[in-house]
Symmetry: C3
Subunit: 313 residues, 3 copies
């Protein structure tokens, strides 16, 4: 594996999940592996879990970590080839990526979708810019269209909690006050299609995800129907993909409630966090034993640690 | 000790001070204690001394440190139970505290008073939110009403510099251009009441501290009378507690000057820093041998190191 | 050496360059030297290379690192003696420098020129304030008038790439959309005067550098004439020194192009980065083998590592 930018970089999901579960049991076992090696984390956007869990993962491996908010502590980067840099952007990705590569062994990058121009976001200029011009491995800490560290943590969590070999997994849209990217939903949906699960997706009309992500996964527009007998309810808001970046609905009839969770097979509630309480999901679900969001967040450390371990081995 | 959120968490001041003084003599003696352990420092407000000294203290113990400006690098947290999170706050303290706990062994938090609503500040929503929902120990790096790391450093400093068993200690208000919180004065006053010192407090009328902090400590409204024969002059501005958060006076007759220090028993000048020169205290005091503010700041490291050592032992 | 604030702190350029090249070959050889020692990096301005390379250098030596954006994470400092601090500045350099010194073994500082008042910038209040009041060594990570870590990296790079004992080195001004400081040009020009090179400087009229920097170095106002047979073309924009801080020209006839590089002796293109592509230099130069800017940036690590090694030894 050269980089970890998308879940397609995983050769065997099952093997990875088992390795991550092993790391979780003995997080400091590979402390020597990272000695003298450095992770550089570059943030173009805010972060809490990703920032702390990835840093922790690197330290568990004995790596040094350098964290930088590249926009506020550095300056704006130019990503266009041939640009005449006579305005606000101080450095081209060509130099930035090549230079930073010389100061570390792995570069991790967070750069969200702008949700303004679909094709612009699809180009993943930041992530792909680093991938193209860096000379060390790149880790995606959530890009415009993918969040593969989250999806890896999700699949670890589902593996730990499944009670049947082939659980029913429902990805449900839920309302949110702001327009959110598709990265988490994309990576989760793609990941589940590589696992032995019965996946369906439920959302209001107009919230269809990218067809290349959905493939043949059933879309059910009736949330209650979708939730029937679910073993895992993975909830997430995203903005419209068709009417790109628009909020078409804040309908709280889509909020996941304890009442709705009764339709499931004593299903587990999952969310990548941060989550808007009583918008996306009601308190009575989040505060119940059915919620495994905290454990899910814990697995972010071991997902990141596995990825870093593979990249520096 | 489960957390260090207030000086009431200290079981024996004398023992702690002696332990801190021992750490100061051999700061790296317990380098192995923190191996593989992580301190996460969360800042809701600015910091210089606290940020650096607490970080240094953790590194002296061999701990890893993760520092985060949670407002600017993360997002706003919701602290109200049952809130419908449909506005600016992205994550509830319930999730934030539980999740961050999984990435570290100790969480240290700085969250100042807002000085708008007395009862709101008294609730210490941020500190108590983390205390309630975190699963690892919490350290208070200055909350709305308390600054127990500062008070511990103060008592170490007084112990080191006292020339008599029971020194006379005066806590004096001084003028300042901005409205400041009561945290430092509160914790200092409470700490001194647990030490064998002769404590009095001096300030203009209207600047009375919380009665639960002052207890039976004499309040002397004539600063010069109060300073007579003082061994330690601990100076600090605070805004009015009665007229909550208001600046009632910027009267520079309350500035501590060399002339006033002559009233003392060759007293030592103390301040938690940062200090406004020639407002709170004149240059001729700060630049004299009577000032021990720099040594006082140095003891912040050993106060924090002692607290962290106890919490991870 | 007590501090590294200017290239005049270097006793022997040749020895230093050879030591840096040795460190580059075995960066982790002195991992034990920094054990239990701490570098505190204070940023008053943005940084990418300097932030990461200096941090990396310290970690290569086994040092702990504390990084702080002092303006945004701390508060504004006062540098004037005798100031009545009744406005926006919360702490005097006297306290800040003395206190921070107690938390670390070396303080590194970045504080750019304001480009408003020449004599104010020349006083180097931030750097000199720390130098005066700190009790540990100070490293200049670019001050108002000097960038000695860059100049050290530059001379390492030239030593590595020179094909003749006494190469021809041209420092060329180039256009830029914003007013930039003189620090890099100053330190480079001074450094080259201490090396065995044939140095000349080329820029439009009105862009003369400080006469104390230029000394007897030939100034050639015709860029093409200057570039003839150059072995190294060191390009940098700076604002006018005479009309202090003003942008007198954005004339793209001064942009370094592949066509102009043909005038050189197969010369190497150097720049401290970040560089504005197609303003300062055209893509065809930066993307050619003649450009050594990435290697030059790599040497920032070893320049910083050498300086830190000397300061903590």
């Amino acid at each position: 594996m050269k980089n970890y930018v998308d879940i397609s970089d995983i050769d065997s999901i099952e093997t990875w999940v088992q390795e991550a579960i092993s790391l979780k049991k003995a997080p400091l076992e590979f402390q020597n592996l990272g000695q003298g090696k450095t992770l550089c984390m570059l943030f173009f956007n805010s972060s809490l879990r990703t920032r702390l869990s990835t840093q922790k993962a690197a330290m568990n491996l004995g790596m040094n970590v350098m964290v930088m908010n590249i926009g506020s502590e550095g300056w704006q980067l130019e990503f266009e080839d041939g640009a005449v840099m006579d305005a606000g952007k101080a450095e081209h990705i060509k130099e930035a990526a090549a230079v930073v590569s010389q100061y570390c062994d792995v570069i991790a990058i967070r750069a969200f979708a702008n949700l303004v121009d679909k094709s612009d976001d699809a180009q993943e200029k930041v992530l792909n810019g680093f991938k193209k011009y860096a000379t060390v491995p790149i880790v995606n800490m959530e890009s415009a269209t993918a969040h593969p560290l989250q999806a890896l943590a999700d699949t670890i969590t589902i593996t730990e909690h499944r009670k049947v070999q082939r659980p029913k997994v429902v990805l449900s849209w839920a309302p949110h006050p702001k327009a959110l990217p598709h990265a988490v939903a994309n990576s989760f949906a793609k990941m589940m299609q590589r696992m032995d699960v019965d996946l369906s997706i439920t959302h209001p009309k107009g919230y269809e995800l990218d067809a290349d992500v959905v493939n043949n996964v059933p879309i059910i527009y009736d949330q209650e129907e979708a939730l029937q007998n679910a073993d895992f309810v993975y909830t997430k808001n995203w903005s419209s993909y068709t009417n790109y970046g628009q909020v078409l609905s804040k309908d709280k009839n889509w909020t996941i409630t304890a009442q709705k969770m009764k339709l499931t097979n004593d299903g587990k509630f999952m969310h990548c966090l941060p989550v808007r309480r009583n918008m996306v999901v009601s308190d009575d679900v989040l505060d119940s034993d059915q919620s495994i969001v905290i454990e899910q967040a814990n697995n972010r450390t071991y997902a990141a640690q596995l990825v870093l371990k593979k990249l520096i081995s």
